[in-house]
Symmetry: C2
Subunit: 546 residues, 2 copies
């Protein structure tokens, strides 16, 4: 029977304190559902005392029937020198009406005297009274001992006294917080062990920040020391350098060390959950993020690729599929023939490692990368490059002419318009559209013209559009790389275009996207090759990408 | 006298194996100089055997007179069943002619038998003979024991035998590699301690990967166990989840634990070095990166800001200036009046926390953020918002009309042209330009027209141009946020524009940039306020930003 470590996710509270993050009530509701589906023990969703958006959230969240997670409201101990009943923030915690309340209080004497500016004894009363009050109201109470490790270093007796009064007040869990993020792993281990020994009858938790790059490791060491409750944020967002990354902690504890954190069958959803939470939060998860990042299992060095193909555990500490992720072999100048060959053979079965075209294609890849193309994450464009090169390509259309006009003040509702003339099998089609910007106008014009010939294009829509400025010191004269993700409802594919001109770069990526769809349609109608997920050739990424 | 821990930076070798990274020879030379200036002990700059670009690099690098760092070439032990002399890769290590060579060899029996496919004894010979050969050629030799921790777990006797023959061959350092990144901190501590006890006369090093999010902590624990050599990459890039982040390790060891890693006077350059290396590598350093990230000392929660203003160590584990970074208070809906007030008072000294305009400005900030503006990192645009709102603003120009035309095929060299009509103090100026894209054409036209009235604008040029697609699921119809960084040679400032139309969004940011410059000029000529670095109001970021 595995030991349980309770996972306490504060994406919606501590995570909301990260730069660039701002959740609407709708955003929060979506993330609550997602985390509950994953099965974390606690979802700390807001601070009703300090944020009126959160008050509304706590009203609306009652519509959701949580299956696994316990909703938690966060707030401070009562303020100094008033009774608990008089404190409005504590009252708002009751109004939030959650099953669980997390109360934070100062465990570092310096903070008590110099920041809150009260006496050490009053601080102890603030803590004990607030917890006791909430326990009497039937709440489960988690006490966050703020600045615990710094406090313990400077005045261990007081830090332990703080925990003692919290326990006496009835706290169900004493969570030790490395609020400033400066603690080291062995310190955290020793101190946590001491606390666990001192308070054997209560759950001990850990809450770390990543200011020394060791939040995850510190949390792991705390569990080694006897903690059975880990606080963090699902994708590691938080003040300054962020909080403990929960999407790293869960597989570390559950897959690698055999603890129980979430229902076993949900481990495979770790990656999808991360991408979803990132999407709602409107941030990009760094590709190198452990377990769930788009490049967590991406291999580039020739020997690494060679090893993994022989036996995946030669260069992977675990199987990507276990967490819902995928292995990728990165195409690049160091990939070599071994990586690119399967992609080439998909187009022309007869080519081998030693065919001259193989080398020529690698040289073409390097040439294109040199001018700014990057086919990692846009393999569909590279597939078109290969098809064109190998003569396995018949253009489905030509764009003979286009003109995009941008005018301010606008003559009508839209400031942008585009004309386009295309030719398909000798027949011409010319049309015009308006758009809410030059790229949008041209995109719409291109499709409008081609849908006359290829009605299946109606099913295609774009799901992502990214612009990367390549040599930013050239500023508005810089080359840009446009990455487009398209779907026809069945498959996702990515294409790329590079130019100093964003309209032209977008046009290249858009045209490639349409070509790719038309090639797919043709092959399917010919009962062609299985176009399914091939690790080597497609990166059907969802919202989280490099 | 502090103990030294030698820092071994492999940005240019292991770092080059990160997805999306591709160094030219020039890039590598620049980074070598930068790391040498910082004073790391070793710079592992390439693998001359496997990469012909690196052969050229090792020729050209001889032009550089390194002051502190020792240049290191990386390569494999000889291949199986041939002599060292016959191995071309080993020969190329000699041709590279570096002072130091890092040789990697397998320490995990499974890799020897199943991946390289040779006998355990032959592997030992490969290691010992290669190292002995290089030592006889006068090299300092570092042995990277690949897969050491996995190997030690499965067959400790063999793993130690590998180290023994490396030592017998004359290796100056035995670096234990957690190549797959799956080890935990206490394991690394125990195993490293064992190795240090077994081989007391040789330096023991550590090389970790971040697949469990613990590369930095594992390296720290290895040092606790007696290692005195840490390998990593300066900004943590590398295969899969990356390598140990050297810009985190150095301050962790030197500032927090008193070891000697780099010359003391260079600690203050840690942040600038990270930004420079990132710029050359063409990646963005994540804002939340410890010590050197743009948000490493960025505070958002009201209580955090309040605490830090009272005493910075209340919420910071160290002073940002010590590593060349800056504290930031993030403006946001949770900032509250305390954060924004100093910015407001810079415009209108008479406003207070309780003035109605203060609340109105905060509401205006929230409204703008709601439609996509983000003023973190573009405080100059917010300054203009405030000035306009408070009536402390007289427009320097009006744009009466513009038209941008994009045509393909182009009638001449450029496919984009722009017309613009501006008005300054009742006088009109109309002009036209060409550009290599619609935004570039409009940018040039705007400046051309305004330089007639304001010649000081000639000194302004843009140093960065970023585009962020806000609601990417709308694809080409999505809102974009354009961030522009400008300089006049003395100061850097950032401005922002939001629209579904990238040309319009760019225009807003460009116009704000010019207005900001003209306001600055006016204030300076009036002998106005000190426009120097105010933490609260300006974020004169260099190349590394959120």
């Amino acid at each position: 029977m595995s030991h349980q470590v309770k996972i306490f996710d504060s994406s919606l509270r501590d995570g909301a304190q990260a730069g660039g993050v701002s959740f609407s009530v709708e955003d929060k509701l979506k993330i609550v559902k997602s985390l509950d589906r994953l099965g974390v023990s606690y979802i700390e969703a807001g601070n009703p005392g300090s944020n009126f958006k959160d008050l509304e959230f706590f009203k609306r969240v009652k519509e959701i029937n949580l299956k696994t997670s316990k909703l938690t409201a966060f707030g401070s101990t009562r303020r100094k020198n008033i009774s608990v009943k008089e404190d409005e923030n504590v009252q708002s915690l009751l109004t939030a009406n959650t099953e669980v309340v997390a109360i934070f209080g100062k465990a570092w004497d310096f903070h008590v005297t110099d920041i809150i500016k009260t006496s050490l004894e009053e601080n102890l009363r603030m803590i004990e009274e607030t917890i006791r009050f909430l326990k009497e109201k039937g709440k489960e109470v988690i006490f966050d001992a703020e600045h615990f490790f710094d406090g313990y270093k400077e005045n261990p007796a007081y830090a332990l006294a703080v925990l003692k009064v919290a326990r006496d007040g009835g706290a169900d869990c004493l969570a030790l917080c490395d609020t400033n993020g400066g603690a080291f792993p062995n310190e955290v281990y020793e101190v946590t062990k001491k606390v666990v020994e001192t308070f054997p009858a209560v759950s001990v938790g850990i809450h770390c920040h990543n200011d020394c790059g060791m939040a995850v490791a510190n949390s792991i060491m705390a569990v080694e020391g006897g903690a059975n409750h880990v606080q963090g944020t699902y994708i590691g967002l938080g003040e300054r350098c962020g909080n403990t990354n929960i999407s790293t902690i869960i597989p570390n504890l559950q897959i690698k060390k055999g603890f129980f954190c979430i229902p076993k069958e949900n481990i495979v959803n770790l990656t999808a959950t991360a991408r979803y939470v990132a999407e709602i939060t409107n941030v990009t998860v760094e590709a190198s993020t452990p377990y769930i990042g788009n490049s967590a299992f991406a291999h580039k060095g020739g020997m690494h690729i060679d090893g993994v193909k022989k036996a995946s555990h030669s260069f992977e500490h675990m199987q990507p599929e276990d967490v819902g992720n995928k292995r990728r072999f990165l195409m690049s100048e160091v990939s070599g023939k071994t990586t690119i060959l399967p992609m080439i053979q998909k187009i022309d079965k007869d080519l081998t490692k030693n065919s001259s075209q193989t080398q020529e294609l690698i040289d073409e890849l390097k040439r294109l990368e040199h001018i700014g193309y990057q086919f990692e994450g846009a393999e569909s464009s590279f597939e078109l490059v290969m098809r064109k090169y190998l003569g396995k390509y018949k253009p489905f259309f030509e764009v003979n002419y286009y003109k995009v006009i941008e005018e301010e003040p606008a003559r009508n509702a839209f400031s942008s318009s585009a004309l386009i003339k295309v030719r398909v099998d000798g027949k011409e089609e010319m049309t015009a559209t308006e758009g809410n910007g030059p790229v949008n106008a041209l995109d719409k014009a291109l499709r409008k013209a081609l849908e006359v010939f290829y009605p299946s294009l109606k099913a295609v829509h774009l799901t992502d559009y990214k612009v990367r400025v390549l040599n930013a010191e050239e500023a508005t004269g810089a080359k840009v790389r446009v990455l487009i993700e398209s779907t026809d409802g069945k498959e996702l594919w990515s294409t790329v275009g590079v130019s100093t001109n964003i309209v032209e770069a977008s046009m290249i990526a858009l045209a490639d996207s349409i070509e790719y769809k038309l090639i797919k349609d043709l092959e399917e109608s010919e009962g062609g090759e299985n176009n399914g997920n091939d690790d080597d050739t497609k990166d059907i990424s969802s919202t989280c990408r490099a």
